[in-house]
């Protein structure tokens, strides 16, 4: 029995980690550089990132493998290192985790569209996800977080790849935009439909990450809660980014976000964490808020 699911069954509200991309960019990753390569070239940095989040209060961290699929890595000519970079990403996080802290293997979109929207076949995409699942499993993850997804068909292939080959829990989160007629992913999926369908597909935990700021995310989580009994996870952006003098700035402070966390939990979230623009300070603030 996996302790992550046990803790959720007991009714615990858990804290995930903050952003990976911005951390790496602040520690030497060039704009346009390959984050996953850091697992090989800057192992101490990746390890320190996980340690920092655990120390700030994270119950779980995600591996530095978001863009670790073959489709994504081949853009950097690293297609032959898929297994290695995914495995290393898990190992670095594993080393930083204590016995009651969890490591989630991050699996992001492949960047390809399934036929007929694009050229990828379901079989090919399944294999791509399986490759990542295998690398992450051999590195010692406690589960998978299939995230920032817009397409139900793509996410279902990733869920199947994980479920067919491991017993580890699978978390799936989608990214929503707000338009004139409500919340939709780029491919037209609503939060309610996502929650229902992903539960049907066998995801152990469902949710949303990225896209909008905390205000909108509370609404999204509430909508998802109305359509599933599964635990819900959310990774929230530190606001909508703006450009100030050529630099990307995420405006939402740890205090601003932490203040809304109780509302987020009330809306139905069981695991809360940060996405783009968040750092260990945000996580510290969340942890303090949840303890009080």
């Amino acid at each position: 029995m996996n302790t992550l699911l046990n803790r959720l069954e007991q009714g615990d509200i858990l804290i995930s980690d903050g952003a990976t991309g911005t951390y790496l960019q602040n520690h030497g990753l060039e704009a346009g550089g390959c984050p996953e390569l850091f697992n090989s070239t800057h192992p101490e940095t990746v390890h320190a990132m996980a340690e920092g989040y655990f120390q700030a209060g994270s119950d779980m961290v995600e591996t530095n493998s978001f863009g670790g699929s073959r489709y994504m890595l081949q853009k950097y000519n690293l297609a032959d290192r898929v297994e290695e970079l995914n495995r290393l990403s898990a190992e670095h996080a594993r080393k930083a985790a204590s016995s009651d802290q969890f490591v989630l293997g991050s699996i992001g979109p492949t960047g390809e569209f399934l036929e007929p929207n694009g050229t990828a076949t379901p079989d090919a995409m399944y294999e791509i996800f399986l490759e990542q699942v295998r690398g992450l499993t051999s590195g010692g993850v406690d589960g998978f977080c299939i995230e920032t997804m817009s397409d139900i068909d793509e996410i279902s292939l990733a869920v199947r790849a994980a479920k067919d080959h491991t017993d580890l829990p699978v978390i799936t989160t989608m990214t929503f935009d707000k338009g004139p007629r409500g919340f939709f992913t780029m491919m037209g999926v609503t939060p309610e439909f996502a929650a229902e369908k992903l539960t049907e597909l066998g995801a152990d935990i469902v949710g949303s990450n990225c896209g909008l700021a905390i205000e909108a995310m509370i609404e999204i989580i509430r909508a998802m809660r109305s359509a599933t009994d599964r635990p819900i996870l959310t990774h929230i952006n530190a606001g909508i980014p703006t450009l100030i003098k050529g630099d990307i700035v995420y405006p939402d402070t740890p205090a601003l976000m932490a203040e809304r966390i109780p509302e987020m939990v009330q809306a139905g979230a069981n695991i809360v964490g940060g996405c783009c623009g968040t750092n260990a300070e945000h996580i510290r603030a969340f942890a303090r808020q949840l303890k009080s």
Binding site: G21, A31, G32, K75, G111, F113, P116, N117, S150, G179, P180, R181, G182, F184, T185, M186, M187, G188, P241, L243, G246, D247, I248
Partner: protein, 250 residues
């Protein structure tokens, strides 16, 4: 004044009724479709339906019946995409549907393009298009390129992950006065500004007009970085390019 019932194609009438809420847009589309030949209205309807087989067949047929290629393109293909753009903006359809409509447009353009090139009609203008450095997204860019070519522009597509140097080299090689830049990620948006700066440094800024677009881009951001125009749709992209050409000629 023309009315909805002046449009012969029933599907177009239904689409306008169901999906076009703004009065001025309704009127514009009613004008657009009602003045087109019924055969071309059918093409527009097939574009909206994302039905590439029907668009293919009907475009070929219209050309065989010696309807002018430009008329088939404007009143059939481009007219159809106008409604697609509105439905997408209003969240009635999403990326998969837009891609199907783009495929349908491509199927029609396959018949139109050879005629336009063979006619020796000079391109309306020359445009360099690219998604900026570090960004691999191109759906929007590709849609804009299709519409620009459809409107008679010669378009050089630099693809994705385009550096400032790539843009400069292309402008010099093709002597193109218009550059269109696209970004889907906030993290790559600054590269638009960097590219414009590179043109200033290379003393080329005055030789080109920049238009920018992409989901995270805003008019304020476009202004801040010194772009000449911002567009939020493929249709607007074409309007901007036409405006650039018109002001250059004056």
């Amino acid at each position: 004044m023309v009315e909805l019932t002046d449009i012969q194609n029933t599907s177009l009438r239904q689409e306008i009724t169901e999906y076009v809420e703004k009065v001025n847009e309704r009127q514009h589309l009613i004008q657009l479709y009602s003045k087109a030949r019924p055969d071309l209205q059918d093409i527009a309807a097939a574009i909206v339906a994302g039905d590439h087989e029907t668009v293919d067949r009907l475009t070929e047929k219209a050309l065989q019946e010696e309807i002018q290629a430009l008329e088939v393109m404007d009143d059939g293909l481009i007219a159809g995409m106008a409604l697609v753009g509105i439905k997408f903006r209003e969240n009635f359809i999403f990326v998969p549907e837009v891609l199907a409509c783009a495929r349908a447009m491509k199927a029609g353009m396959k018949h139109i393009e050879p005629i336009l090139s063979a006619s020796g009609i000079k391109p309306v203008g020359k445009v360099i298009m690219g998604t900026v450095k570090g960004d691999l997204h191109d759906i929007g860019k590709n849609l804009c390129i299709m519409m620009l070519r459809g409107a008679g522009f010669e378009v050089i597509d630099l693809g994705v992950d385009t550096s400032s140097d790539d843009f400069i080299d292309a402008v010099e090689e093709y002597e193109a006065p218009i550059v269109g830049m696209s970004a889907l990620l906030t993290t790559t948006m600054p590269n638009m500004g960097k590219t414009i700066e590179a043109f200033i440094d290379a003393d080329l800024r005055d030789d080109v007009k920049f238009m920018v677009g992409g989901a995270p881009v805003t008019p304020a951001f476009a202004d801040d970085m010194g772009a000449d125009a911002y567009g939020d749709s493929a249709v607007e992209c074409v309007d901007i390019a036409k405006r650039f050409v018109a002001t250059a000629d004056s």
